[in-house]
Subunit: 340 residues, 2 copies
């Protein structure tokens, strides 16, 4: 178990029983009873040099802060309505800086039906952006704990690209610090690939249409958004559901951009998918019978769906790669542990 | 207008119209339409060395983060139900540190009916604690904009003590950095006074019972919590209501502890009340006829109520002190402008 998850366990142990709590800490979002239906709420704090690179454009920081919260709600099958935005920043940067963060957040929220209704400003030595967002379930609530043996495991989109993008972004930063051109070429990588990978990291696309569809039609039995790498997030889902997940490495989607990047780096793209964070794709379980509708759902949601493995009795997450099998349920990025 | 208020104006200008927003940015909390009644939501971010002193006990940081959010809801006449807690901290401090913050927050929330339901952890170079809290109106919504000429102006509790406490806390910090005893005596100030002033700053008491009572009985026509000093917060209320506030310096409550502190400092205690932040008392307007019930309300709420002035046509905030009159509507602390 990751330190972040251990921490959540300890916090849960401190909480008194309280009527109206449908789901407390430990899933992608909290659920409380509203007077006529559940409210689904989440919060994420982004810190400079940890959750985004120093020097990132303020409007991109705002977009990202909103997107990662939308992703949490998407993983619960909820639709966002409102958000609060707190910004800590060095006041010497002037008020245009937080205003640009707010502008990015407002524009990004607008695309998902989430409106800014309040916030807070503070002076701070580093840039910190915290969003709290809430809304209502689109249908069934999707939690992490509903998977059963016999079901299959699915993943959306093109994971691993964000990890590649982060590495490129770091090199860009390094490069510009030494006075290089604003957009250097990365030897062997096409400009569209570079741009695609960078965008995957900097400006992730939360899978809200997919999440709400899976919930509305009660397709997924369990779901989580992949923010800390496929390994660790699959591990969380497995632990919450009390099952074992078996993932077939050959079934993992490797985009052309990720393949090109991994080749140049002399790395297995599967490792970038398993260990890399920040993808914000949805990982979910469903019975095989659900696959019938997937083509249409993928089309409507604008994102590909991949069958990557299956749910079996037991615990942990196994990656099958040729003849090898390895445990990956604790692999991946941990916000608690590792600065980046 | 303070930079923080100017910023809010600019953010408001960016916001598209959205159905369901009863009150957007610019008051103590936001109000949105829930399916069967309004939801009142607020957020505050506390940053180390800005909103609390470096070296503060983690459980006190957690208590404070909850208290200032409860205060925002109290000023709206709302009762809190739920909160989310995000903590950024140097991970080298170990997980006991954020756990102690959470423990303080949970315990403090419990006293006001607010339960922790979720949160986020991040590595950060400085300690940052962000709380988002929401609940429902206890009765009428109390906003800043309902005051009318002819009404009177009231203030709760013993303001100014937090500003004195902050100054004492800073000296304590300075003192301990030079290897002094843990609890030095401040020459001329009794130990109970020192403790009272320190507590007023470090562990403020939100006026929730008072705020919800004023709302339930529709007593206050406008209200605000005094977080940035009486001057600037009265200025905000005056501006929102389109009125002028006249405050009588002789009517301002000066506690024995504040009087003793001010005497030793050779300062007018009124200046500490007008300019000092962090008191979290309630400032509100009501017709004179409401005063009949104040004794009982004060008793029930456990806090004194003071008539400190009146509402007249015009704009700004005037402090009358003997023959002098001065404009104080822009006086006070600004979180945007001034680190402390």
């Amino acid at each position: 178990m990751k330190p972040e998850d251990r921490f959540v366990e300890k916090v849960r142990a401190l909480l008194p029983q309280r009527e109206g709590v449908i789901l407390g800490p430990g899933d992608d979002a909290a659920v409380v009873a509203g007077s006529s239906g559940p409210i689904v709420a989440t919060t994420d704090m982004l810190v400079e040099s940890v959750d985004f690179l120093a020097g990132e454009e303020p409007d991109v920081i705002g977009r990202r802060a909103v997107a990662v919260n939308v992703s949490d709600l998407a993983a619960m099958g909820a639709l966002p309505s409102w958000f609060l935005l707190s910004i800590g920043f060095p006041t010497a940067r002037g008020e245009d800086f937080p205003l640009a963060i707010a502008r990015g957040a407002i524009a990004r929220g607008d695309q998902f039906g989430a409106s800014l209704v309040g916030g807070d400003l503070s002076n701070a030595a580093v840039i910190v952006v915290s969003v709290a967002m809430w809304g209502n379930p689109a249908g069934n609530l999707m939690t992490r704990d509903g998977a059963s043996p016999g079901e299959l495991l699915y993943l959306s989109g093109d994971p691993g690209r964000a990890a590649a993008g982060l590495r490129l972004a770091r090199r860009l930063e390094e490069f510009s610090r030494h006075g290089g051109a604003a957009t250097p070429r990365f030897s062997g990588l096409s400009t569209p690939h570079v741009e695609e990978l960078l965008r995957a990291y900097r400006d992730p696309e939360p899978r809200l249409a997919l999440g709400s569809r899976l919930a509305r039609e009660a397709i997924a039995t369990a779901a989580i958004d992949v923010s800390d790498g496929l390994g660790v997030d699959a591990g969380r889902l497995a632990r919450a559901s009390g099952v074992r997940l078996e993932i077939d490495a050959l079934a993992l989607p490797v985009s052309a951009s990720l393949r090109a990047f991994a080749q140049i780096e002399g790395e297995d793209p599967v490792d970038l998918i398993v260990n890399g964070g920040d993808d914000y794709e949805l990982l979910f379980c469903a019975p095989e019978s659900a696959e019938e509708g997937f083509e249409e759902i993928a089309g409507e949601s604008g994102v590909a769906l991949w069958r990557i493995g299956r749910v079996v009795p037991g615990s942990g997450v196994i990656l099958r790669q040729g003849r090898n099998e390895r445990e990956i349920g604790d692999a991946g990025h941990d916000h608690f542990e590792t600065p980046r």
